[in-house]
Amino acid sequence: MISHAQLERKPAVEEREVDLIFHAPRHINLLTVEPLDKKTLHFAIMHTFGTIDGGIQNLYGLDNGATIQFSFEYALNSNFSLGAARQSRDKMYTLYGRYHLLKQTEDNSMPVSVSLMGAAGINTSDYGFLQEANPSAADRSSFVGQLMIARKFTDKISLQASPMLAYFVNPNPVFLIEGRENLYLAVGFSGKYKLSGKSSLTLQWIPNLNNDLKNNVGVGIDLEAGGHVFQLYFVTSQALNEQYLLAGGNGVPGEGFRLGFNVNRVFATGR
């Protein structure tokens, strides 16, 4: 009746960036292409417990204590953020940067999101109990680089492939890693299948490319709850930072599974 007098509905922006390829910058143990907005701080607290094969006697691994990682990441702008993480296993401190090269758009003029990540870490465990001298700072250092390529295929399905490398200056047998090489190559795969508006099934698989270590496998669920993203999962490794994910070794999927969970939260600053 009055429709002829109505305004034509027009979108405000033509090439909109795709929202939420993943629920958070973290996805099980791996980083994602999910960007942070300028001047926001992302905080993640991540845990993995003992193996679940001890059964109820060990409360499915929870009695064995947790490996914990605190991670803070601050976005200097919408494409670049700097982070710091501290993993309890080997008291690892890691500094990292994440840079978003490309962002997928709704109209597919850009079909994928691509991000780069680089990190340097140091093991700060006290090795005073050793016969030989405490390893030097250089010997305790390790580095990581990864390229993350992701696409939201449908409203439900997102996938990311992350070619990664980790380098240990001196993979000392006293470190809590299984590998003895300096260089580790792998591809991390992350998958998300949306179950409902606020929950998704999550997958992680990190096949190693240049060693015989078992591959990392993870399966879990992401739950969004008012600004928090809770991530509950089963995973084959205690490792929480990238170097240890590649060099740390894994149990056999099934019997070697551990429970893990992350809590993600974003804080706006400078307002």
Binding site: V13, K198, G227, V266, A268
Partner: protein, 182 residues
């Protein structure tokens, strides 16, 4: 064209120009306020598109919900993807009439009540919105209005675990300066 027809056409044009008291905006401001027990925040957009036609008594407003910003990007994304579902329902719209269209001269303000259909999240409801129209100068009008939206009315679910962060009742405020169509 015969002269008579030409004259008729010219009269029509003149006529419509006289009738066409249309005021338009493309950058009106919309703001919503969510006051939950543990968290209060506002979302803002400056992309309100609007039309007020005082002669035909038509009000038509819409905003692209993708332009709403709460100051936290991740919260915006969750709002778009999980609550407003902007991919399916990109706009909030209001189309209606003013109860008594005022005729204003410069500097005058009139309180008005708009009645019409408000649509968001794919659900349409009849609402009444009290507001104020001010004639700023010749050919320029300001609209101020405020109303509340109950999210439940529009099937925007708030999960139980977040009731303390997101309020069921959202206070929406609109401010727009509309200019006469040339």
């Amino acid at each position: 064209m015969k002269p008579v027809l030409l004259l008729a056409a010219m009269m029509l044009i003149v006529c419509f120009r006289g009738v066409g008291q249309q005021f338009l905006t493309e950058n009106g401001r919309v703001e919503f306020l969510s006051q939950a027990p543990l968290n209060e925040f506002t979302g803002k957009s400056a992309n309100l598109n609007g039309l007020i036609d005082l002669e035909k008594n038509v009000l038509d407003f819409y905003v692209d919900l993708n332009t709403l910003e709460t100051g936290i990007g991740l919260r915006d994304r969750h709002m778009r993807e999980n609550y407003l579902e902007t991919k399916k329902y990109p706009y909030a719209e209001f189309t209606g009439k003013i109860n008594a269209p005022p005729s204003l001269s410069t500097g005058q303000t009139a309180s008005v009540i708009a009645k019409g259909k408000f649509k968001i999240h794919g659900i349409e409801k009849e609402i009444e919105v009290p507001g104020k129209l001010t004639q700023l100068k010749d050919g320029e009008m300001q609209l101020d209005a405020s109303f509340t939206v109950l999210l439940g009315d529009y099937k925007i679910d708030i999960p139980k675990v977040v009731f303390y962060e997101l309020a069921e009742e959202q206070v929406v405020t609109i401010q727009a300066i509309l200019k006469a169509k040339k």
